[in-house]
């Protein structure tokens, strides 16, 4: 029925219809009659963003490779599609079987970004599934979530039945298997079982890495401060531990990847070369979530690349990770991949580069056509502030690297900076402008001396610091919107050079992001209100309306400044304390104190272990594949 309406009435009315058709090469369509558990992976953003997400691609094929379960996909419908669906009362449906989400056993959201939270509510509503976990009945799907924002899912706690912490590859099939078994047991018993849903949730909460928010109640003191969680059920674990893959080299990786029809953000083979990063930037949440660093061996990667190219027909391979150039075998790997696929004109790309000459050399090797720009992230304008955030980069490094880039023929350089970092002063902002100018002058000099008539373009992209849970800066306050906007204007006036383009992020978006990132369960009301007022696609400039959020905070009597602007004491209980990412609080405190002294912490891959606690607590260790290159006996 849905398929008919879709083909006859909807698709010709919406932009980009292939967002909703499915049918991509390597899509998996399984027979519902032959599986015990059905799950739909729900991505709370549009198709082209979601299909670029590696996690979706891994879990999709992993689950569909299991005989007793299936996974389909759904993305947030763009506003034109939503309108048409609401007009006809058409429920949100999956791409593969075009079935309503309500018919699945599990609807699983990935939490990539705080600003997609209202899309989750919108998708549940479109799916005609009760928004609040407590309102769901036995035959409603289990609404689950995972992904980076599971670090603190508390603002979403009321909407989610269950949250998975850490890497899902091992635990998700186990979870779905349990759900399937439970269904079979229940089908066998004739009695109507009251509280069946609770029974199932209680069973699932016993699995490692699984957090069932409804089994806990949050308490606040008279001053409105969070006091802690109380277990409502004796069987609930005190702490929930993130899950990690022990042997990343041997971990599941699909080589029959889907090939979207429309251009998606990352429209190429994505080869995950390593997981984690231990450079220990103090603002970076990914640095905690994915610890410790684990590499895939060059042999495995080459084999996966071969198979992926054969199975997808893509003409480009991207080597992805938090910092690909850090892979201990990167050079031979790049050479081997280029050589193996040269004949078929398959190119390589390295999405993230670190600031050093080595990276530029690599980029030069992989770049077939030298017209795209190079991006570097010095993050701060002065050495002092770079030391505060532990960005182990000096100005000499940066200038040397960029000189190499100009010498190599690049003329567009993009520099990422953050404003509003802890301890930031005017001279740090001034430093951003000065650095950009220095880069522009150097570029022009080099080009002039070589007689190249081409304009230098330096783009500085400025985001606002958002303090994130499970980082050394989790206790820090964010700059106010007014402060951030003032700083943006300061720089705007300061940068007059026509070679420099200057972009900045909306400070109001960063503010909401900060509130949600460090929020507690009381924020559910705000999310609900903001969504009722029309909030969705808040990460998209054309849809974000700050006034909706202001009203939502006022009407729910919640002070957003409390969450974003307050310096938190070390001994205060935090809403995410029960979620254990393996990194010790003492390490985070130590790092925070070192930040205030602008003292550096070294990368545990190549220097001594900085005792973050992850390796001993998860029973795992840093896993590098480069032989003696960079090995360190001092590591735990």
């Amino acid at each position: 029925m849905i398929g008919q309406v879709l083909e006859d009435e909807l698709l010709n009315k919406v932009t980009k219809p292939t967002r909703y058709t499915g049918g991509e090469y390597n899509q998996v369509k399984k027979d519902w009659a032959n599986v015990d558990t059905t799950m739909v992976f729900a991505f709370p953003d549009v198709y082209e963003v979601g299909m670029s997400h590696l996690g979706l691609r891994i879990l999709y094929h992993l689950i569909n490779d299991q005989e007793s379960m299936l996974m389909e996909r759904v993305f947030a419908p763009w506003t034109d599609m939503e309108e048409e669906m609401r007009k006809r009362d058409l429920p949100l449906f999956s791409l593969e079987s075009r079935r309503p989400l309500k018919e699945f056993d599990v609807v699983g959201f990935t939490l990539q970004y705080e600003m997609s939270y209202t899309n989750i509510l919108n998708m549940l509503d479109l799916a005609q599934i009760p928004l609040l976990s407590q309102d769901r009945a036995d035959d409603d799907p289990l609404v689950i979530a995972g992904g980076p924002c599971a670090v603190n899912p508390e603002p979403l706690a009321d909407f989610l039945d269950l949250v998975i912490l850490g890497e899902g590859e091992e635990i998700l099939p186990i979870l779905l298997k349990k759900i399937g078994n439970f269904k079979k047991e229940m089908a066998g018993s004739k009695e109507a079982a009251p509280g069946r849903r609770q029974t199932l949730l209680r069973q699932l909460s016993q699995l490692p890495g699984v957090y069932v928010p409804s089994m806990y109640q949050a308490h606040y003191d008279d001053g409105g401060h969070y006091k802690g969680l109380e277990k409502l059920d004796g069987s609930a674990p005190d702490r929930i531990c993130k899950q990690v893959i022990q042997d990343f080299d041997q971990a599941y990786f699909p080589t029959q990847s889907m090939v979207p029809f429309m251009g998606v953000v990352h429209d190429r083979v994505m080869l995950e070369v390593l997981r984690g990063c231990s450079r220990a930037c103090r603002f970076c949440q990914a640095g905690t979530i994915y610890r410790p660093v684990r590499e895939r061996s060059a042999e495995t990667l080459q084999r996966q690349a071969d198979e992926l190219i054969r199975q997808t027909g893509y003409d480009e391979i991207a080597l992805t990770s938090l910092s690909t150039a850090d892979h201990t075998c990167i050079e031979p790997l790049v050479k081997a991949l280029l050589q193996a696929h040269e004949e078929k004109r398959v190119g390589l790309s390295l999405p993230s580069l670190r600031v050093d000459a080595f990276s530029v050399n690599l980029a030069r090797e992989v770049q077939k056509v030298r017209k795209t720009g190079l991006t570097f992230a010095p993050e701060a304008g002065t050495q002092r502030l770079r030391d505060v955030i532990n960005k182990g980069v000096t100005e000499e490094d940066l200038m040397e690297t960029i000189e190499k880039a100009f010498q190599g023929g690049w003329h567009t350089i993009k520099l990422y900076f953050m404003m509003g970092l802890p301890t930031e002063e005017e001279e740090d902002l001034e430093g951003i402008a000065r650095l950009a100018e220095k880069v522009a002058y150097m570029g022009s000099d080099i080009f002039r001396s070589k007689g190249i008539r081409k304009n230098i373009k330096v783009t500085i992209s400025l985001s606002s610091f958002v303090p994130k849970p499970q980082t050394p800066f989790q206790w820090e306050a964010q700059n106010s919107i007014a402060q951030l906007e003032e700083k943006q204007q300061f720089l705007k006036k300061r940068i007059r050079d026509r070679r420099i383009t200057y972009n900045w992020h909306d400070a109001k978006v960063s503010f909401i992001e900060a509130v949600m990132a460090k929020g507690d369960r009381r924020l559910a009301k705000v999310l609900l209100k903001a969504w009722e007022k029309g909030a969705r696609f808040d990460g998209w400039t054309e849809h974000f309306r700050y006034d909706r959020w202001v009203e939502a905070f006022q009407e729910t009597e919640i002070d957003p400044a409390y969450y974003a602007y307050r310096n938190i004491e070390y001994n205060e209980p935090l809403p995410w304390d029960h979620l254990d990412y393996g990194v010790d609080r003492s390490y985070l405190v130590r790092e925070h104190k070192k930040a205030m002294e602008a003292a550096l912490t070294q990368d545990c891959r190549h220097h001594s272990c900085s005792a973050c606690g992850v390796c001993p607590s998860l029973g795992i260790s840093v896993d590098l594949r480069g032989g003696d290159h960079g090995q360190n006996s001092d590591r735990l």
Binding site: E9, T21, V369
Partner: protein, 236 residues
């Protein structure tokens, strides 16, 4: 090295692919099928793949054509089989034929398109009304239509590009079949023919549920009509 002409159909769900997406889908399928493509020379080499004509988004086609340069050559039947396996659902590879050297490009060759449009009726009408509408419109010397172009709305005269229109009523739907001009000489769009016919007698149709099928693309040479593959077979 050889140029191969491939005939294919494009149905659900891939009828929603844009021309660009269709090109990409073909290139990727050819790569998956391990058919070695020939690339252009120069700064940014791209495979030599060229389509007969762009198909509007949402239109089903039973007769599309694409020329592909490959090296080494593969036998026709083998190519059809391998490519079919590598195509996404909704594309059917119908046939393939080697193009002898010196033949014009597909795009320059094709000059006719046959369409069938199917549109629900809001109230029932007599078959005769349809025939009258068609006849009245065909009797007109001038069909001016408005089209969007880069310079805004422009008027176009399309009557001379309409060669044949037939119509009937089936299960409360109006069905029109037409043969119109396409290619470098100009394009006539099936919606334009439909709207011209409907206008004459104010036929009650539900335009937003219009379905269009391209039945085929043709080459008219010396008063005879061939498919782009028949042209090649004729040369043999």
């Amino acid at each position: 090295m050889a140029r191969i002409r491939i005939a294919f159909s494009k149905e659900d769900p891939v009828r929603w692919l844009s021309h660009l997406d269709t090109q990409k889908a073909f290139e990727r399928a050819l790569r998956r099928a391990q058919i070695s493509l020939v690339f252009s020379e120069g700064y940014n080499p791209h495979p030599k793949i060229s389509f007969a004509s762009a198909l509007a988004v949402g239109v089903i086609s039973l007769g599309e054509y694409v020329d592909v340069e490959i090296d080494p050559l593969i036998e026709n039947a083998e190519l059809v089989m391998r490519l079919q396996k590598a195509m996404p659902e909704g594309f059917r590879i119908i046939d393939a034929e080697i193009v002898p050297p010196g033949q014009p490009a597909l795009m320059a060759l094709v000059n006719r398109a046959q369409y069938r449009v199917k549109v629900p009726l809001l109230s029932s009408i007599e078959e005769k009304e349809v025939q009258d509408s068609i006849q009245t419109s065909l009797d007109l010397d001038s069909w001016l239509v408005e089209r969007e172009s880069k310079k805004g709305l422009v008027q176009k005269e399309i009557r001379s590009g309409v060669y044949e229109v037939k119509g009937t009523v089936v299960e409360n739907h109006l069905l029109l079949e037409m043969l119109v001009q396409t290619g470098s000489e100009g394009n006539v769009r099936p919606e334009e023919v439909l709207s011209m016919v409907v206008q004459q007698k104010d036929l009650p149709v539900q335009l937003e549920r219009l379905r269009i099928i391209r039945l085929g693309l043709f080459v008219v040479k010396d008063g005879k009509q061939f498919t782009p593959l028949e042209v090649l077979k004729d040369l043999r």
